[in-house]
Amino acid sequence: MQPVGAAAPLRVDIAEKTFRSSEGVSMTALKDLAFEVRRDEFACLVGPSGCGKTTTLRILLGLDTDFTGSFQLPRNEGSRIAAVFQEPILLPWRTVEQNVRLALPKDMRDTDLTPLFDSLGLSQMRSLYPSELSLGLARRVAVARAFAIEPAMLFLDEPFVSLDEQTAERLRYLVLAVWSARPTTALMVTHNVREALMLSDRIILLSARPAHVQGYFDIRIPRESRSPQVMSDLARSFRQKFPGIMRGELGQP
């Protein structure tokens, strides 16, 4: 029994996850996938597209229970988990503020959300409906919803895809700012190595299907000192450690 609030990490040990199609064809997505994310650490799950990153996330979110193995989520009071999905998944019939507030547990329903909305640049949008927002803004609302519940574990599934580079970059900085204000154990799925190098403390590199961990890449340099120069150094050492990863399947470096 782990004492509450102690350094309980995210421990994942998935023996196997197999999909069976209705024609009886089976496909093993994950095989002996084991990794750990330390407490209050921002980790990135990087791997070729279609390797099973999102499948892993769905298992950890409890949305897919058909697998063998086990995992353990970090705990704190409430032990809430939050997710930013690939699509924002906001309720179109509720306003921005209602969307965020509905995710809050009962005893937090009256929390003042102004600081959070301010820091994400959403203060003017609180009473708008999601259909009135651009994709970039809708993503920000999804980020606000995830951080609002003060989760013990935060999952992000490619939260910056299908945005133009400028918007994506701005959103990365916003996420970083909100996360730094209240660090929480986070696991982000991405296929963009540069993004992972910019945001994370640790990169977990997955192999092609069936996915297992190919290696770790720890980054100890504080995020605020990751200047373009430092970033390109990081990219170089990443390339040396995992040759042939930065180009090809993983998309642009």
Partner: protein, 276 residues
């Protein structure tokens, strides 16, 4: 709208006023069209009834006289209220049971496969058969009357709501389970808004169908209500009274549509009307 006292100097330029007038005209044109069309129908009826005078084909004026007379002596309002109460009771019953069953069938495929045959069977039983059987089995009473109307409507509600439940977006459900929405929140904020268009469709066709069946139920086995009155005047061969009751009830149903159904729908779909 900008209503100005006559003689007040207009500070705005003439073109702006012109544009306002044109948009005002555009906004009342549909209403004018409806009024013109109704007046046309009235005139056609009046001319036809004057050219071929007959007891079986009264003029609008004769119908109006009956309408006023029965309103004043209280008979029309009383029977309208009775029928309306039956419509409301049958409607609420049919929507509640039909929605619950339809949503369950839409969510559980195995149950749907089993009960689908029942739904098809009930969809195809003629309304008249259900009414007659209800009166035979449960007696000539209010419960049998309202129950028979509801049973007629339930299968169509089931079919519509089942379609709605099948179209539910699983992503919203997943989001709700990750964020641990309570059952009530899930129902109020995730499930019902997604089903709302289907519910509105079922309700709208439901009202239209139910009030017609209620008249038949009243005709066959009740001693009050619009259906009973029409039956009575049929035996007296009083077409003016039949038309008076019919028109009064149609007017009531139109008012319900305009004052209750449409405003509610506008409210429920307010998030849809403002595109980005």
């Amino acid at each position: 709208m900008n209503l100005r006292q006559p003689g007040t100097p207009a500070p705005h330029d003439f073109q702006a006023n012109h544009a306002t007038a044109r948009s005002l005209l555009a906004s009342i044109t549909p209403a004018l069209t409806v009024i013109a069309s109704l007046v046309g129908l009235y005139l056609l009826w009046h001319v036809a009834a004057t050219v071929w005078p007959s007891r079986a084909f009264p003029t609008p004026h004769q119908v109006w006289t009956v309408l006023v007379k029965d309103t004043v002596n209280g008979e029309l309002p009383y029977n309208l209220a009775i029928t309306l109460a039956r419509v409301v009771a049958a409607f609420v019953l049919a929507m509640a049971i039909g929605s619950a069953v339809g949503i369950l069938l839409g969510m559980y495929r195995r149950a749907d496969r089993f009960f689908n045959a029942w739904v098809i069977l009930f969809l195809n039983i003629p309304a008249l058969v259900i009414i007659v059987l209800a009166y035979i089995w449960f007696g000539l009473n209010e419960v049998a009357a309202i129950g028979a109307v509801a049973v007629n409507k339930i299968p169509t509600v089931v079919v519509t709501m089942r379609e709605g439940a099948r179209a539910l977006d699983p992503r919203f459900g997943e989001m709700a389970s990750v964020y641990r929405f309570s059952t009530l929140d899930r129902l109020r904020h995730v499930l019902l808004p997604q089903l709302q268009p289907y519910f509105a469709a079922a309700a709208r066709s439901g009202i239209a169908l139910i009030w017609k069946i209620v008249l038949v139920v009243e005709l066959l086995g009740r001693s009050n209500g619009v259906g009973f009155q029409i039956h009575l005047y049929f035996q007296l061969f009083d077409v003016a009274a039949i038309l008076a009751y019919t028109l009064a009830f149609v007017a009531v149903m139109l008012l319900i549509e305009l004052l209750l159904v449409q405003p509610f729908e506008r409210y429920a779909t307010r998030w849809r009307r403002r595109p980005a």
